[in-house]
């Protein structure tokens, strides 16, 4: 448990680490789900291709959406993109930077699924066993075209009575699996080369814009968090005051017939301070509306000149 806590604390240390952690977890989950999934090829002429390609692509689209949903930054980016300009102008470079970092992280789990699928080979054998050239394989060369299609469709099913000890079935299966693994390794190679080139050559193009976009995207994230914390604190004080007020008004009714003066504690003034003058529902609603429609400008110099 201790080691999980340490790993957890390491990943929580900043929001980029949190996102990397989620991305890694999704990738591991995709490998685990593939190993647990019971692949079962239908072994029928048209159904094979639909099933094989479906299993290869549909879960990867699902993982892509999961990666986008679980990433907090996608909401922050959408809000930044859709907000009205107000007194703070919008920087398209920041939005582009956030979008590309979200997409890169979301793409990891789908790519892992596709590569594991290809390296395992079952999907491609199922999908393309009917498209193999029967002349290359001895057992399928001397039969009618319809029979050939049916036999080839049964290649992925080892336990079928026609295919049980058929050496040509094994040859076709090995051939397709070899292609599937070659495709998987090639895709992995291309992606790694692209990632490597991107990492090496990014500082050569416009490093200043990148530094600025990185800083301001981090800023927007932090600002959103601090705003939520401030609102939480405000609502706690609001609720506290509201309830105290309620009890006070009940007490007032009882005290109407007594001669004790109402007490004014210093606590009340301190709490008013924390409410910052925003003390009823309409004012809170107005504040939240202004926060969305008119974010304040990025200029706090008036504080330093007081």
């Amino acid at each position: 448990m201790d080691c999980f806590r340490m790993i957890f604390q390491y990943f929580q240390s900043n929001s980029e680490s949190v996102m990397n952690g989620i991305c890694g977890l999704l990738a591991l989950a995709s490998v685990k789900i593939y190993t647990c999934f019971d692949f079962s090829c239908p072994c029928l002429p048209w159904y094979n291709m639909a099933y094989g390609l479906g299993i290869m692509f549909i879960p990867s689209v699902i993982f892509l959406f999961c990666g986008l949903i679980l990433n907090r930054q996608s909401l922050v980016m959408l809000e930044e993109w859709s907000r009205p300009q107000g007194s703070r102008k919008k920087d398209p470079a920041v939005i582009r930077y956030m979008c590309s970092s979200i997409m890169q992280r979301a793409m990891v789990a789908p790519i892992v699924w596709i590569i594991v699928t290809l390296l395992d080979g079952k999907c491609l054998i199922c999908a393309f066993s009917g498209s193999v050239d029967p002349e290359k394989f001895v057992g399928f060369a001397n039969t009618t075209p319809v029979q050939v299609q049916q036999l080839l469709a049964k290649v992925p099913c080892k336990d079928d009575e026609l295919m049980r000890n058929n050496t040509s079935r094994k040859a076709v299966s090995r051939y397709l699996r070899c292609w599937s693994q070659a495709l998987g390794w090639s895709i992995l190679l291309i992606l790694i080369i692209a990632a490597f080139l991107a990492r090496w050559f990014r500082p050569c193009f416009d490093q200043v814009t990148l530094l600025q976009a990185h800083h301001w995207s981090n800023y927007i994230d932090i600002e959103q968090k601090i705003f939520e914390e401030t609102c939480c604190e405000h609502s706690r004080q609001f609720a506290h005051k509201c309830i105290l007020h309620f009890f006070e008004s009940m007490r007032e009714e009882i005290k109407l017939h007594s001669f004790r003066l109402p007490r004014e504690g210093e606590g009340a003034e301190r709490e008013e301070d924390l409410l910052r003058g925003i003390a009823n529902q309409d004012q809170v609603n107005k504040l939240l509306k202004m926060w969305y429609y008119e974010k304040p400008p990025l200029n706090v110099s008036q504080v330093t000149h007081r």
Partner: protein, 338 residues
């Protein structure tokens, strides 16, 4: 668990240790990946060589590039290489040191993969089964096999269940022969790598030790400086956001107070501390120019007395100054505004 925590903290203590940890994990991962990978020789005449050599060589190349991609120092090296000179000279020895240390770490996982592959033997058996010396190991005079036919039969050696050339050459004989060659190659490869590593490690101090120490120091410095800069920017962004939001709330309450004719709120006590952390940078365009100067014109490696500290002097300058301030003697006083 205590031991695990100590190891974890040790590896986290600096970037080099962290990279050593990643490098070790990748080496273990490459061995694990090989055992998890389902090797499947196609057993067809020309496909065998391509598949066997592909599995021997492509994954190590991928692992090598992955070692670079996962290393955060890559972007640091590229940045240091491409930055404008500004007030700080560039030392090619430092760049070379950084590149060599990254390349050395990235080589470990591919070497592990190649060694494990050769010692296991499946790849070499698959790739070279058609080149087995049938004259010495089998029965070449067996009639009925043309050249092409013989190649097709030999190509099936790795696939025991479909092998049909038992009269030509026994399957076990061929497999044992190929595996023996593969393992000999594997052990020679491991010996060669270990000898190279030993020679590099033991002979390097005989040449250029002083330059090595200097390069190592300044490459660690660049790494630490970048981390501190990122932390300072994050801290600044936090204080900026805090003050910005406080002002927003105050602005709202001032608007409302104007209607109710109350006196304006006093600044909360903790605003003072947040303002100090802003380090004088209080709006977007100033922050943008600070970030631009950081890249275009890094400060010289020369710590000054606080009273003498002047502006960076980089604004608007495109050409470097007349003599570059290469630090020959560092000031003893430690001065930091971070």
């Amino acid at each position: 668990m205590d031991k695990f925590r100590m190891i974890f903290q040790f590896l986290q203590s600096n970037q080099e240790s962290f990279m050593n940890g990643i490098c070790g994990i990748m080496a273990l991962a490459s061995a694990q990946m090989y055992s998890a990978f389902d090797f499947n020789c196609p057993c067809l005449p020309h496909y065998n060589l391509a598949y066997g050599l592909g599995i021997l060589l492509v994954p190590p190349f991928i692992l090598f590039l992955l070692g670079f991609v996962l290393n955060n120092n890559v972007s640091m090296l590229a940045e240091e290489w491409r930055r404008p000179r500004g007030h700080r000279g560039k030392d090619p020895a430092v760049l070379r040191y950084m590149f060599c240390s990254m390349a050395q770490r990235a080589m470990i996982a591919p070497v592990v993969w190649v060694s494990v592959t050769l010692l296991d033997g499946k790849c070499i058996t698959c790739a070279f089964c058609t080149s087995v010396p049938v004259e010495t190991l089998g029965n070449i005079s067996h009639p009925g096999f043309s050249q092409g036919e013989m190649k097709r039969v030999l190509a099936r050696i790795p696939c025991k269940e479909i092998y049909d050339g038992q009269e030509l050459i026994a399957n076990e004989v061929a497999v044992r022969y190929l595996r023996c060659i593969s393992q000999a190659l594997g052990w020679c490869f491991v010996l060669l790598m270990t000898t190279l590593a030993f020679l590099v490690r033991s002979l390097r101090p005989c040449f250029t030790q002083a330059i090595f120490l200097k390069s190592r120091y300044w490459s660690h410095y660049i790494d630490i400086e970048r981390k501190l800069f990122d932390e300072t920017c994050a801290e600044h962004a936090r204080s900026f956001a805090r003050v910005c939001i406080q002002q927003f709330f105050e602005g709202m309450s001032t608007d409302l107070a104007a209607i109710r004719c109350h006196s304006p709120r006093k600044t909360p006590a903790d605003a003072g501390e947040a303002v100090e952390k802003l380090l004088g940078i209080t709006d977007q365009s100033t922050m943008n120019s600070a970030l631009k100067s950081w890249h275009r014109c890094k400060p010289p490696l020369h710590l000054q007395h606080p009273a003498l500290h002047s502006s960076n002097g980089c604004a608007g300058e495109e050409h470097p100054p007349a003599h570059s301030p290469v630090p020959r003697r560092e000031m003893a006083a430690y001065y930091s505004r971070v």
